[in-house]
């Protein structure tokens, strides 16, 4: 008898060659008030890959990923036009509930932001509680699973009831990743997740991203070229709100087609 898992594994390499699109961004424009910060972005992001978004400060990287979970529109005066299609469904279609979108697309921010009055376990369970999960056993199991996925379990398993803010910065950031993972998102958005961390904590998060992309699609903003080169399968280069180039990371770094991209990745930027 053929083990179905083995069969699945055998087809996996083929899938790896031509990944299906998870998030398709089309004609996307975004504004803060009257100031346009993204113009006509078209971007097909493959499933189960890590995608890095790079570009100089202020070019719209954060804005771009915040349009993917409908966080951008929460800023007063902010506006979005265009499509962001996740699994074939436009999240900006009329009638789509932004709250429901955010429950499927997780986000981790630049500075770790655990809830200060909640314990480690409470932080991780917060999203599940929002979804109405009350069963203690279910919550405990989910907390452990998420903490394991975030490579934090061994460090905190004896202190789950300690305040989440009592952890180190790097642990806090992994706690925030665990909190996002606990609700089982299909896409995880990371906005410079390592910029407040030291090199060791950073490399832990990078390893984590490499593991996580087996299970979900990761879109990560980073200012760190080496980081993009290390963890991202694909890289998008943004400049002044425009998508300049999107390709496999290796091509972006070794044989970019645009002069701007080359200047940026080699650090010879104006």
């Amino acid at each position: 008898m053929v083990d179905p898992a083995v069969g699945a594994r055998r087809t996996a390499p083929a899938l790896r060659e031509t990944p299906s699109t998870k998030v398709a961004i089309g004609g996307l424009r975004a504004w803060f008030g009257s100031k346009q910060v993204l113009s006509d972005i078209d971007l097909d992001l493959p499933a189960l890959r890590a995608i890095a978004i790079i570009g100089p400060s202020g070019c719209g990287k954060s804005t771009l990923i915040r349009t993917v979970n409908r966080m951008h529109e929460l800023v007063r005066g902010a506006r979005v036009e265009g499509r962001v299609v996740v699994d074939g469904h436009d999240i900006y279609a009329p009638g789509v509930d932004a709250v429901a979108v955010r429950r499927r697309i997780g986000m981790v921010f630049q500075k770790p932001n655990p809830f200060p009055t909640m314990s480690v376990g409470g932080n991780v369970a917060a999203g599940l509680r929002l979804n109405g999960v009350r069963d203690r056993a279910v919550l405990d199991a989910a907390v452990e699973k998420a903490l394991r996925q975030a490579a934090l379990w061994d460090e905190v398993k004896d202190g789950l009831d300690q305040p989440g803010v009592a952890l180190s910065g790097g642990q806090q950031q992994r706690l925030c990743i665990a909190r996002a993972l606990a609700v089982g998102p299909e896409v995880l958005l990371l906005d410079e997740p390592c910029s407040a961390l030291d090199p060791i904590a950073t490399s832990k998060i990078e390893d984590l991203i490499t593991e996580l992309k087996e299970r979900l699609t990761i879109i990560m903003v980073t200012h760190n070229m080496q980081q993009a080169a290390r963890v991202a399968d694909y890289t998008a280069f943004l400049y002044l709100g425009k998508l300049i180039e999107f390709d496999r990371t290796r091509r972006i770094f070794e044989t970019p087609t645009q002069e701007l991209t080359e200047k940026y990745v080699t650090g010879r930027f104006g």
Partner: protein, 346 residues
């Protein structure tokens, strides 16, 4: 050593070695520049000195004022404590009686119950207003609503009292209390003939009076909750109300607690409006619809016709009120400490 150590030694560069310090040391050729920098530094030192001493003396003045007030209260109240002694623990305050009675407990009771009840009624409403103002209301309504609330805080309490006498008390007597007696009479809390001038009326009026203060402070507390906290909840798929419940209120809880304590302080000390609607009866009450008195209202009522032991007893009442407020404050601080320690945020 004699005299206080200066913050910076007068002729050494400041401890932060920065560009200022190094160029100031660089020697004679740049005398002009160096002189300028040194003067600027001295100016800064002088500014610091003035500032430190100003704040220090302000602190001394405040402490001195409190000590002075308490001391003078003590001196004026001492004869009464000596003459009356345990008589202050009696069940009745009747300075005109034969013999005069100076039981302060009913007044303490009246003060605590009206203030506590006011807090119970007012704080939830105030928090609600603060949440609406800082989180839920569309921006266009926020500003006008905030202004209205702040205006309420500016109304003098005697005006609240007038309104209480002529509008609130009759309204409660005619339209609210009968229903209250009918449905909740069995609890025993609402017995007796309801004249409208009662503990509950005073508490409701006090609640209305503390709402502006508590909600204005609470709104500031909620506004100070970092965007990062709100976004953490939003990114998990929280609705606006869930954001409030899961991120905003917990983060701001020690500040909200502080706002309530300020409300309580106001309620305990409020005199005029309470005196006008509480009915002024100096005995224990068990029904909230009975008239009563608070320490401040007794002081306001009697201070101008008192003399001798009676006057001294009023000073003693002042001390008792001070002690009550102090005790509550200490408890509040302890609670606050515990809150802070459990949800340790910076």
């Amino acid at each position: 050593m004699d005299g206080p150590t200066p913050i910076f030694p007068t002729d050494a560069p400041p401890p932060s070695g920065g560009p200022l310090g190094s160029s100031a040391q660089e020697g004679s050729p740049r005398k002009g520049l160096r002189g300028l920098l040194l003067r600027a530094l001295r100016g800064r030192r002088l500014g610091d000195l003035v500032f430190v001493n100003l704040t220090r003396s302000a602190a001394v003045v405040v402490v001195g004022l409190v000590v002075g007030i308490v001391a003078s209260l003590m001196i004026s109240g001492k004869p009464a404590f000596e003459a009356i002694g345990s008589g202050f623990l009696g069940p009745e305050w009747l300075p005109g009686g034969q013999p005069p009675r100076y039981g302060a407990l009913p007044l303490v009771w009246g003060t605590l119950v009206t203030a506590g009840l006011a807090l119970l009624l007012g704080v939830p409403v105030a928090f609600g207003i603060a949440i609406v103002l800082s989180e839920l209301a569309p921006p266009v309504v926020r500003t006008p609503l905030s202004i209205v609330i702040e205006l309420l805080a500016a109304i003098p309490s005697v005006v609240y009292g007038l309104w209480g006498i002529f509008i609130l008390a009759p309204f409660l007597r005619d339209s609210v209390y009968p229903g209250l007696q009918a449905t909740w009479g069995w609890t025993g809390l609402f017995g007796g003939a309801a004249s409208g001038y009662s503990v509950l009326t005073a508490a409701i009026l006090l609640a209305i009076m503390i709402i502006p203060t508590v909600s204005a402070i609470s709104r500031e507390v909620l506004r100070a909750v970092p965007v990062a906290q709100r976004e953490a909840a939003l990114a998990l798929g929280a609705t606006p109300w869930e954001v409030v419940r899961m991120a905003v209120l917990p983060y701001g809880r020690s500040g909200l607690f502080g706002a309530s304590v300020l409300g309580l302080a106001r309620a305990i000390g409020e005199t005029m409006a309470v005196t006008m609607v509480i009915g002024n009866r100096n005995a224990f009450f068990s029904s909230l619809l009975q008239p009563a008195n608070t320490i401040p209202s007794v002081l306001a009522n009697e201070v101008f016709e008192a003399s001798g032991t009676h006057l001294s007893a009023l000073f003693a009442l002042g001390i008792i009120l001070f002690l009550v407020a102090l005790t509550i404050n200490i408890f509040a601080q302890l609670l606050l400490l515990r809150l802070r320690r459990r949800g340790a945020h910076a």
